[in-house]
């Protein structure tokens, strides 16, 4: 009798497990992908769900995404917008989630990727498809700068639709600290900048330059490279025309080492606001950070010119170190028609204006009227049109994600060893691995 009841329990357990297994096996069946070669849009949208994967989960980025969502619902009432945002600084968590989704053939409708070489990893793994038709329908190089489209093009195909542009080579400075040190002019090269730092140090500020964790150090190093190599040679670093162990790169590594002697001691894991706050609090004179830093100053109630000022990293007057967010068409996505509706919205003048006004970046399109934007964005839009454009290393425009990871490790290693010859060796080795 006892035995029978045990057997009943055992069988019931197995049955329950079996049911649970059946319940969880409702895998989405892949529908045959629509025709992706020519763009056929239906007014009101293709219908179905469009999952949009981003790391815009908080702050101004989220506000921008919300604007886009509102506009998307208005223009494409047939489509259902699904927000797949994953929170986490600069997409570090989101990229991990995305990598496993793509690996398991469960791509979202569209995902955010830094425009430029970072997309190479996805192209290499054949995880995204060209969007030439979308770009053409949006107006192609009549509305997007050619220098930008060139950076999105691989073997004649364009793989993403850019949504916004940021500038990485901006120095943020504390006006009060500079005045106390007797500095009135913006230095014109790295040497002059170092001389100014010496003055700041003499005026009693122990750390004239502030840095944070590894990626901010990589961003600082990239701007030193641009200054010391000039635009053409810097661009050559990424197609093999400039050697990574050339004298100019060695000079840049030496200058970077000198700059760090004026900097605070950061922890590898610190995020950028730690360093920017040092300028805000007057503990440092300078911080190199992308133009999203303006939001940090605004949030702390600081006024342009009276409390802080900004200028291009010395030696880069007329150079725009760009990074951009863009959206892709993943291979094998369930609803390519809906994805294209989303891409059309992202790339439209209306979409770019709504998004960038809220996010604080500038539109990738050149035909969005500047007068609608605040002063900093106006000046950045003007600069983007007229300046020489170079690609940011730290933000996925110049090098692939894998190459970036190797360079970050080299920069992190250098931060403790302060061995500039070793840095050049490591960077050369990394380049050898990833250059075609």
């Amino acid at each position: 009798m006892r035995n029978r009841s045990v057997a009943t329990v055992a069988i019931a357990t197995i049955a329950a497990l079996g049911l649970a297994a059946c319940g969880s096996s409702n895998e989405p069946t892949p529908t045959p992908g629509g025709d992706t070669s020519s763009l056929a849009t239906t007014s009101g949208g293709a219908g179905g769900e469009v999952g949009v994967f981003t790391w815009w989960a908080a702050g101004s980025e989220k506000k921008g995404l919300d604007e886009l969502e509102k506009l998307f619902k208005e223009k494409y009432p047939n489509d259902t917008f699904v927000n797949l945002a994953v929170a986490g600084g600069a997409g570090s968590n989101a990229k991990a989630k995305l990598a496993s989704d793509l690996q398991n053939n469960q791509p979202p409708g569209s995902f955010q990727g830094h425009a430029g070489a970072e997309l190479l990893d996805y192209i290499d793994a054949e995880q995204i498809e060209p969007v030439n038709d979308v770009i053409a329908a949006l107006g192609g190089d009549k509305v997007f700068p050619k220098s930008l489209l060139d950076r999105l093009t691989v073997d004649g195909n364009i793989y993403s639709v850019p949504s916004n542009i940021h500038r990485a080579n901006v120095v943020w400075a504390n006006t009060e600290v500079l005045k106390n040190a007797g500095i009135n002019a913006v230095p014109t090269d790295i040497k002059g900048w170092i001389a100014d730092m010496e003055k700041v140090k003499a005026s009693g500020v122990a750390t004239p330059l502030s840095v944070a964790g590894t990626w901010t150090q990589l961003q600082l190093f990239e701007t030193v490279l641009i200054s010391d190599l000039g635009v053409d040679k810097y661009n050559g670093l990424f197609d093999g025309k400039t050697a990574w162990d050339s004298p100019e790169v060695k000079q840049a590594a030496a200058d970077y080492k000198t700059l760090l002697t004026y900097a605070n001691t950061a922890s590898d894991g610190d995020d950028w606001p730690v360093a920017t706050d040092m300028v805000i609090d007057g503990k440092a004179a300078y911080n190199v950070m992308g133009d999203w830093a303006v939001a940090e100053f605004a949030a702390k109630g600081k006024k342009e010119q009276t409390d802080y000022q900004y200028f291009a990293v010395p030696g880069q007057e007329g150079v725009f170190d760009f990074l951009a967010d863009s959206f892709t068409l993943p291979k094998g996505t369930k609803n390519p028609g809906g994805t294209k509706d989303w891409l059309m919205l992202i790339g439209s003048a209306e979409g770019q204006k709504a998004f960038n006004l809220a996010k604080g970046s500038i539109p990738a399109r050149t035909d969005v009227p500047a007068t609608d934007f605040p002063p900093y964005q106006q000046s950045a839009m003007e600069a983007f049109k007229t300046n020489d454009i170079v690609s940011s290393i730290a933000h996925g425009a110049a090098v692939s994600l894998a190459w970036n990871a190797d360079m970050s490790t080299a920069i992190s290693k250098f931060y403790t060893t302060k061995d500039d010859a070793g840095l050049v060796t490591d960077l050369t080795a990394a380049a050898k691995k990833y250059l075609p």
Partner: protein
């Protein structure tokens, strides 16, 4: 007739364990097999035709020959040694102190055990600040505390110092977190020894020290061994604490587990990550398997 009763004897029990046998078979052993198979893949990037992994055993020799990986293994060794020694010493010390009998023992026990209730990732965020490398005017966290106590000369860049043994500093938060657990294990061991034995030893004229040395500690050795194994393998797979403190690409704090994250998610190289994982599995097995054999043997002995 006889066979029927036999079946009725073993079948219900077998059916009861069958689900877990299946689940463990799939989610542990089959996945281990998959991981090993993945680690032997030959991979070529599809668009640019670059060979990222040559395939076979060469994947392992490449990884083991890599300077960065050797550095990570060395870091792991330093971390494991300091972490295991630290938790054992502090755990035993606290257990002895509590075992001696103090007022409000429950409060102390909770205080020592509480860090274990906090996840590594949350503790890591706090310790990133505490172990901040700035000295002198920039000191924050532990360095600031040392300055306030007038002990400036003990300030250190902690895990970020150029010293090759800097990884030992990363063990501080881990020791803080898990000493309480070891304490609980030892305390349970002490409580399991009947008071009669101490009384007997006292009557025989043993001093307190002798009682610990010759009566109590020998009986704790099985517990010490399990604590050693648990702590040792935790240190090898420790990822979240280091990741939270040092960020993604830190060279100074790289260990195989953090390197695996970089290989998988940044370098888009699951094959190399799988090889790394297999090596880590072998390392953990080297620690755990002898222990399993030992406990199996002693259990049989006590049963027999």
């Amino acid at each position: 007739m006889r066979t029927a009763t036999k079946v009725r004897d073993w079948l219900p029990g077998f059916l009861l364990v069958l689900p877990s046998v299946i689940v463990v078979g799939i989610f542990v052993y089959w996945l281990i097999l998959q991981n090993v198979l993945t680690s032997l893949d030959r991979t070529v990037t599809r668009a640019t035709k670059r060979v990222t992994n040559p395939g076979g055993v060469e994947n392992y020799t490449n990884l083991l020959g890599d300077d960065g990986y050797q550095h990570a293994l060395f870091n792991l060794l330093v971390l494991t040694v300091v972490f295991v020694a630290g938790t054992m010493v502090f755990g035993l010390l606290w257990a002895v102190l509590l075992e001696k009998g103090v007022n409000a023992e429950g409060v102390f026990r909770s205080v020592y055990l509480l860090p274990m209730a906090i996840s590594f990732i949350a503790a890591g965020i706090v310790w990133r600040w505490l172990l901040s490398p700035g000295k002198g005017e920039q000191a924050v966290g532990l360095n600031q505390l040392l300055a306030m106590m007038g002990l400036e000369r003990f300030q250190s860049s902690w895990w970020q110092s150029p010293n090759t043994l800097s990884m030992a500093a990363m063990a501080i938060p881990a020791i803080w977190q898990l000493s309480g657990y070891v304490m609980a294990l030892f305390l349970a061991g002490f409580r399991g020894i009947s008071d009669d034995q101490r009384e007997a030893a006292r009557i025989d004229g043993a001093t307190e020290r002798q009682i610990y040395r010759h009566v109590l500690f020998p009986q704790l050795s099985p517990i010490a061994l399990s604590a050693l194994i648990i702590i040792g393998h935790m240190s090898m797979k420790m990822f979240d604490l280091i990741y939270a403190i040092a960020g993604q690409n830190s060279y100074k704090a790289s260990v195989p587990a953090t390197l695996m994250w970089t290989q998988m998610f940044q370098q888009n190289n699951p094959t190399a990550a799988a090889a790394n994982a297999t090596i880590l599995l072998v390392l953990v097995a080297l620690v755990v398997v002898p222990y399993l054999i030992y406990t199996n043997k002693t259990e049989k002995e006590t049963r027999g």
